[in-house]
C-alpha cells in the first residue's frame, strides 16, 4: 500500500533535493547531470558578488517583515474578537464570509485589485477624482508596492488564519472562565489570563513555521503584481530564480540562488524551534 506514496516522495521530493547538486556544476541539458563539469562554488561566488543580491535580499526581507508585523497578528486579534461574540448566528455568518477569499486564486485577487485600483476607471481612483484629489497610480508605482502586497495578503488570508486559533479557543474549559468571574476578573482580565495562554502554543508553532518560510514571499502573488515600473522593489529570490532559470535557461546559477534560499529557510526553522523549546514551548518537532 505504501509503495506508490514512497515512490512519489522519492521521485518528486528527494530527487530534486539531490538535483541541487547542479548548482556546483555547469549544467548542460544535453550533457545531463552525469556529463556536466563540476565547477565548485563558482555560481555562489557570482551570486554573492552581484549587486542584484542585495536588491533581492532587501526586497525579500522587507516584504517578509511587513508580513510579520502587519499580517501575522491580525488573525489572532480577529479570532479573539470572534470568540467574544455571543450572538452565535452572527458569528457563523461572519466566519463563513471571511473564509471565502482564501479559496480564490491569486490571479483573481490580483485581478480584482486591478479592477479597483487602476487609474483607468478603477473605483478607488474614480472616487479620488470625484472628491477632487489626484489619481494615484497604485499598480505601477514602486512606492505603493509593499503596501499593496501586504494589503492583498491581509484580505485573502486573515479570515482563514482565524480557524486554527478558534479551534484552540474552542478547547478551553468553560469552568476556567466561571472561576475567574468568581474571583472578580473582568473581561479584559479573563482575556489576559485565560484566553491568551490558551492560544499561546498555537501562536508559537505558527510563528516557527512562518519563520521557516520567511523568505517565501508568495511567488505567485509577486509574480502577478510585478511589472516594468515596480520591478526594482518587486524582484525577490523566487521571481529571480524563475527569470534567470526558466526564462534564460541558466539552470545551475538559478539553482544556486534557490539553494541559498532553502538553506537559509532550514537554518531559520531549526533556530526558531530551539528558541521555542528554550522558552518552554513544545516546538514543531
Amino acid at each position: 500500500m505504501l509503495l506508490p506514496g514512497v515512490a512519489f516522495f522519492i521521485v518528486f521530493k528527494y530527487v530534486p533535493m539531490w538535483g541541487v547538486l547542479i548548482s556546483f556544476q555547469n549544467y548542460q541539458p544535453f550533457l545531463g547531470f552525469g556529463g556536466s563539469d563540476w565547477v565548485g562554488l563558482k555560481h555562489f561566488d557570482r551570486f554573492f558578488s552581484e549587486p542584484a543580491f542585495w536588491t533581492l535580499f532587501r526586497n525579500t526581507f522587507l516584504l517578509a517583515v511587513y508580513n510579520l508585523i502587519f499580517f501575522f497578528p491580525l488573525p489572532i486579534v480577529l479570532a479573539l474578537m470572534l470568540n467574544e461574540i455571543r450572538l452565535q448566528a452572527y458569528k457563523r455568518v461572519i466566519q463563513t464570509i471571511i473564509y471565502i477569499p482564501h479559496f480564490v486564486s491569486w490571479v483573481v485577487v490580483v485581478g480584482i485589485a486591478y479592477l479597483f485600483f487602476t487609474t483607468e476607471g478603477g473605483l478607488v481612483n474614480e472616487w479620488l477624482a470625484s472628491v477632487g484629489l489626484e489619481k494615484i497610480s497604485f499598480l505601477l508605482s514602486a512606492d505603493w508596492f509593499r503596501t499593496f502586497i501586504t494589503g492583498q495578503v491581509i484580505w485573502k488570508d486573515t479570515g482563514w488564519g482565524t480557524i486554527i486559533f478558534l479551534a484552540a479557543l474552542a478547547g478551553v474549559d468553560p469552568q476556567l472562565y466561571e472561576a475567574a468571574k468568581m474571583d472578580g476578573a473582568n473581561r479584559l482580565r479573563q482575556l489576559w489570563h485565560i484566553t491568551l495562554p490558551a492560544v499561546r502554543s498555537t501562536i508559537v508553532i505558527l510563528l516557527i513555521l512562518r519563520l521557516g518560510h520567511f523568505l517565501d514571499t508568495g511567488f505567485e502573488q509577486i509574480f502577478l503584481n510585478m511589472n516594468a515600473m515596480n520591478r526594482e522593489v518587486a524582484e525577490v529570490f523566487d521571481t529571480y530564480v524563475y527569470s534567470v532559470g526558466i526564462q534564460s535557461g541558466q539552470f545551475s546559477y538559478s539553482t544556486a540562488v534557490g539553494l541559498f534560499k532553502s538553506v537559509v529557510g532550514l537554518v531559520l526553522v531549526v533556530a526558531a524551534n530551539r528558541l521555542a523549546k528554550r522558552f518552554g514551548e513544545e516546538g514543531v518537532y
Binding site: 506508490p4 538535483g19 480564490v104 486564486s105 476607471g121 502577478l224
Partner: protein, 291 residues
C-alpha cells in the same frame, strides 16, 4: 451575565469591527458579480453597482463565444475532478499504513515526510525532474508533482490513528484483508476528513496557475487561471469572435468582459465550499493537535 457599560462598549466594538472586516471580504465579490450582469451603459454611468437595474448577459455571451475560454474551463473542471480523486486515493493509501503502529520503519518514513516540509530542492530541480520524465506539456505535470500534500498526509494519518482499534480487529477476524479494512471499514468512517482534503485538493487544482505556466507551453492546454491573467492583468484583448453573432451584437467593453471572466473562474469553486464548510473546521482542528 450582567454587563457593565464598558462591557457593552467592548461588545459593540467587536461586533462592528468583525462586521466591517466581513464587508471588506464580501463586497468586492458582490460588486464583480453585480457588475458582470449589468448593462454596459448603466455601469459606465454609475461606476459602482451592487444591485443592477438593467440586466445584460453580453459579457458572458461574448466569453462563451470563444473556444479558448470554453475549452480551458472544461480542462479545469476535468483537472479538478480527476486530479482530486487521484490525490485522495494516493494520500489515503499512504496515510493508512502510517497510522498503523505495527508498520515496520514507521519513524524513519515519518521523518522523511516531515523533512520535505522544511526543505525542498526548489523550482529548477523540480522543473528538471518533470522535464526528464517527459511530462512537459502533459496534463500529468499538473497532477503528479503535487500528488500527495505532506501536510494533508500527516493530518489524515492522525485522523486514522484516533479511530477505535476494535473495529479493525473484528473486521480482520471476519477475514478482511488490509485493503478490505481500509475501503470497507476505515474510509466509510472518514467522511469529514475526506471532504476536507478533497476540498483542499480541488481548490488547489482549480486555482492552479504557476505550474501551468511552468510546465505547459501549449496555450490550448492552459487552465482557466492562466487565461484569466492574460485577460485581466495583461489586458490581452481579442479572445472572442464576435462574427458569430448577429449584426446587432456589439462587443461589450473590456471591463464587463473582465468581470465576467472573474465570475466564471471563481463561482464554481465557491459553490462547493458551503457544503463542506462544516467539515473543514474539524479537519483543521485535527491538524492543530499534534500526534
Amino acid at each position: 451575565m450582567r454587563t457593565s457599560i464598558s462591557g457593552r462598549v467592548f461588545d459593540l466594538f467587536i461586533v462592528a469591527f468583525s462586521g466591517l472586516f466581513g464587508l471588506i471580504c464580501f463586497v468586492p465579490f458582490l460588486y464583480v458579480v453585480a457588475a458582470s450582469f449589468t448593462a454596459p451603459e448603466e455601469l459606465l454611468r454609475k461606476g459602482f453597482v451592487l444591485f443592477p437595474h438593467s440586466f445584460s448577459l453580453d459579457g458572458y455571451r461574448y466569453i462563451f463565444s470563444t473556444p479558448t475560454i470554453t475549452r480551458s474551463l472544461v480542462v479545469t473542471i476535468a483537472l479538478a475532478a480527476i486530479g482530486t480523486l487521484i490525490n485522495l486515493l494516493f494520500t489515503v493509501l499512504m496515510a493508512y499504513p502510517l497510522a498503523r503502529s505495527d508498520l515496520f520503519g514507521r519513524r524513519p518514513l515519518m521523518l522523511m515526510i516531515v523533512f520535505t516540509l522544511i526543505f525542498s530542492g526548489g523550482m529548477i530541480p523540480n522543473y528538471l525532474v518533470v522535464k526528464s520524465l517527459h511530462l512537459l506539456d502533459s496534463y500529468w505535470s499538473l497532477v503528479l508533482p503535487g500528488l500527495i500534500n505532506a501536510f494533508n498526509l500527516i493530518v489524515l494519518k492522525n485522523f486514522f490513528q484516533q479511530l477505535p482499534d476494535g473495529l479493525e480487529e473484528s473486521a480482520r477476524i471476519d477475514g478482511c484483508t488490509d485493503f478490505g479494512v481500509l475501503f470497507r471499514i476505515v474510509l466509510p468512517l472518514s467522511g469529514s476528513a475526506l471532504a476536507t482534503f478533497g476540498l483542499f485538493y480541488a481548490v488547489g487544482h482549480w486555482n492552479t496557475f504557476f505550474n501551468a505556466i511552468l510546465y505547459l507551453n501549449d496555450a490550448d492546454k492552459w487552465p482557466i487561471q492562466v487565461w484569466l491573467r492574460q485577460i485581466i492583468i495583461l489586458s490581452q484583448a481579442g479572445i472572442g469572435d464576435a462574427s458569430s453573432f448577429d449584426d446587432s451584437f456589439v462587443v461589450p467593453p473590456p471591463a464587463i468582459i473582465k468581470m465576467a471572466v472573474i465570475v466564471i473562474s471563481t463561482v464554481p469553486i465557491l459553490l462547493i465550499y458551503p457544503f463542506l464548510q462544516k467539515h473543514f473546521a474539524k479537519g483543521v482542528l485535527l491538524g492543530s493537535v499534534k500526534g
